[in-house]
């Protein structure tokens, strides 16, 4: 290959990349940079030039109790949804991987919430959570208990949102465990049966450790979702009561489009970007060094 031909190839490759490069710059890299810049400046009043204030916006944000409440909510939301979803996903995968009557139906039942829009799922769960006519309170009433204000009581609301999210996510994570289980060498089980190993100890000593890469993979996905998906809040609680169910991205939305405070919105976005950066680093360092059954 002559040098000119090589140059031609390079140019051609660059041209092929161009559309993606332009779009990624416009909607990913450039907005990331401007978000960081906006978090370091204060807009001037009535068209006055913006003023560089360094980390002042961050100081203001970190002194705002509402921000800490929302950050704490997001942490509780993550801790509440992730381990439960993962444990359920693993149980579901073990159920439908074995000999089970009506396996096809059961697998479909687990996976169906995954393909619903979050908005539709939230609408459906409204029928359960609503104060007077909601199904949960009707059941409680029939059993002689007083109803619970599932979405209106600050102590319960976040829990209600978490339960719905677990229902929505577990089936999606199940498919990764199922694929990993089906990729496991059957000799392991046969050998264990010959040895007379109990099922429970086989699970803890063989299956579970072998599923570790899958668990990490699912964990990364679940972490991203805990930060990224806030659609259900628009229907269920609007972040209320008194910010009891507000999460970081919803708080960004509120600041930008309800309070028209772009600076605070940008500053919180940078916090979210840092969290996602940590998750990405986890993925590219821990996960990509292991094999993943796919």
């Amino acid at each position: 290959m002559t040098l000119t031909a090589h140059r031609k190839m390079q140019l051609y490759g660059a041209l092929l990349l161009l559309p993606a490069a332009i779009l990624l710059t416009a909607f990913a890299y450039l907005p990331t940079v401007t978000t960081v810049i906006n978090s370091l400046f204060l807009p001037g009043f009535r068209g006055a030039p913006t003023e560089f204030v360094g980390i002042e916006n961050y100081q203001v944000l970190f002194n705002d109790p509402t921000f800490w409440k929302v950050a704490r909510n997001n942490l509780v939301y993550a801790v509440g949804t992730i381990p439960t979803s993962i444990a359920l996903a693993l149980a579901m995968a073990l159920f439908v991987n074995g000999k089970l009557r009506g396996r096809g139906f059961v697998r479909m039942a687990y996976f169906t919430p995954t393909i619903l829009p979050m908005i539709a799922a939230a609408n459906i769960w409204m029928f359960f959570y609503a104060p007077q006519i909601g199904l949960f309170n009707k059941l409680l009433g029939a059993l002689g208990f007083s109803g619970v204000n599932w979405l209106g009581d600050p102590n319960v609301a976040l829990g209600s949102v978490i339960v719905m999210s677990v229902w929505k996510e577990a089936g999606f994570f199940m498919i990764f465990y199922l694929a990993a289980l089906q990729g496991m060498p059957p000799e392991l089980k046969e050998a264990a049966d010959l040895e007379g190993t109990r099922r429970w100890s086989f699970f803890w000593r063989v299956t579970f450790p072998l599923l570790m890469p899958t668990t990490l993979f699912v964990l990364i996905n679940a972490l991203i979702n805990a930060v990224r998906v806030v659609d259900h809040l628009f229907i269920l609680t609007k972040g209320g009561p008194n910010n009891a169910t507000n999460l970081l991205l919803y708080y960004v939305y509120e600041n930008a489009f309800s309070f028209f405070d772009r600076t605070t919105a940008a500053t919180i976005t940078v916090v979210i970007l840092l969290v996602l950066g940590v998750v990405a680093t986890l993925k590219f360092t821990i996960l990509d060094r292991r094999t993943h059954y796919q």
Binding site: M9, Q10, G13, A14, L16, L17, P19, A20, L24, A26, F27, A28, T32, N38, A91, M92, F95, G98, L100, R101, F105, V106, M108, A109, F111, T112, P113, T114, L116, P117, M118, I119, A120, N123, I124, W125, M126, F127, F128, I133, L135, G171, F172, I175, A179, N221, I224, V227, F234, I235, L249, V252, Y253, A256, F257, T269, L273, L276, G277, A280
Partner: protein
């Protein structure tokens, strides 16, 4: 083994094991919300308050939902959005993946890592700045504005690059000897062999954009561009006072095409979600 012990197979056809009961119980809990929505949508609204299994069936709720909000238009918008996004993604991601898989680009690995960043930094995370950029491009309240930020998809580029890399070079060389140009080689050799990847990625992308909410909510402000999810969100907001039976009918209307497609092509859906891994 003594003769009195049962073989596991024999037990499988008798009393259901604890595991089977647990599996089925969980499955019933998992489909129940959807079944309840179905029940609510096909019965008069007064039965939302007092449940009767054999209450009269009705289609009124669907008629009401369809007439109270421009769902036909929302459907059209969602169809246009999903079609446009998927076609755009196929074209843009194919070109980029081909470059990454087969061309000697300086700093290729760094560039590819840069692309992968978009797997974590989604358009909806940068909602404020993306809104500003969309408005500078005059894309507010357009279907293009809803879809364009997603067209250069890191996931699409990643999956297609992986597939293209596995295609043997001999096929490409044969095509070149026949005098094919680069784009012809891409079109005649690479794209046909990557069909399963296109199918998997296409399905995942369709479900994602059919269901997407927060970015469309921000970027649209009228019936002309609003997709189904946003229309449904506005329609069923508690403060509008629409009755519940109608809300469940509207909810079912919004999810019906995707749900039917899923029930018909379950295996492909599950396989696709599995292959795409990160949505």
């Amino acid at each position: 083994m003594s003769a009195t012990t049962y073989s596991p197979r024999a037990r499988y056809f008798s009393v259901p094991s604890l595991e089977t009961v647990a599996a089925w119980l969980l499955a019933i809990i998992w489909v129940f919300p959807l079944l309840y929505a179905f029940w609510a949508a096909f019965h008069p609204s007064e039965f939302m308050v007092r449940f009767e299994l054999f209450a009269p069936l009705t289609l009124d709720n669907f008629v009401n939902a369809w007439s109270q909000a421009p769902f036909a238009r929302y459907y059209l918008n969602t169809f246009a959005l999903v079609t446009g996004v998927v076609i755009g993604q196929f074209v843009v991601c194919t070109l980029a993946a081909f470059a990454f898989a087969r061309f000697p680009i300086p700093g290729k690995n760094v560039l590819f890592m840069l692309v992968l960043i978009q797997l974590f930094v989604f358009p909806e995370v940068l909602i404020v700045e993306n809104y500003r950029i969309a408005s500078e491009l005059g894309l507010i309240n357009t279907i293009t504005g809803v879809g364009l930020p997603y067209v250069a998809s890191a996931l699409g580029i990643f999956l297609l690059r992986q597939t293209f890399k596995t295609i043997p070079r001999e096929l490409e060389d044969a095509a070149r000897i026949e005098g094919c140009s680069w784009l012809e080689i891409l079109w005649k050799v690479y794209v046909p062999l990557a069909k399963p990847t296109y199918l998997a990625y296409g399905l995942v992308s369709i479900s994602h954009h059919w269901n997407n909410f927060i970015w469309p909510l921000v970027v649209t402000n009228s019936v002309e561009s609003r997709p189904l999810t946003v229309g449904l969100g506005i329609f069923s907001a508690p403060e509008t006072g629409v009755n519940w039976a109608t809300v469940s009918a509207a909810t079912l209307l919004s999810i019906a095409p995707l749900l039917v497609a899923f029930l018909l092509f379950q295996r492909q859906f599950v396989q696709s979600f599995l292959r795409a891994g990160i949505r």
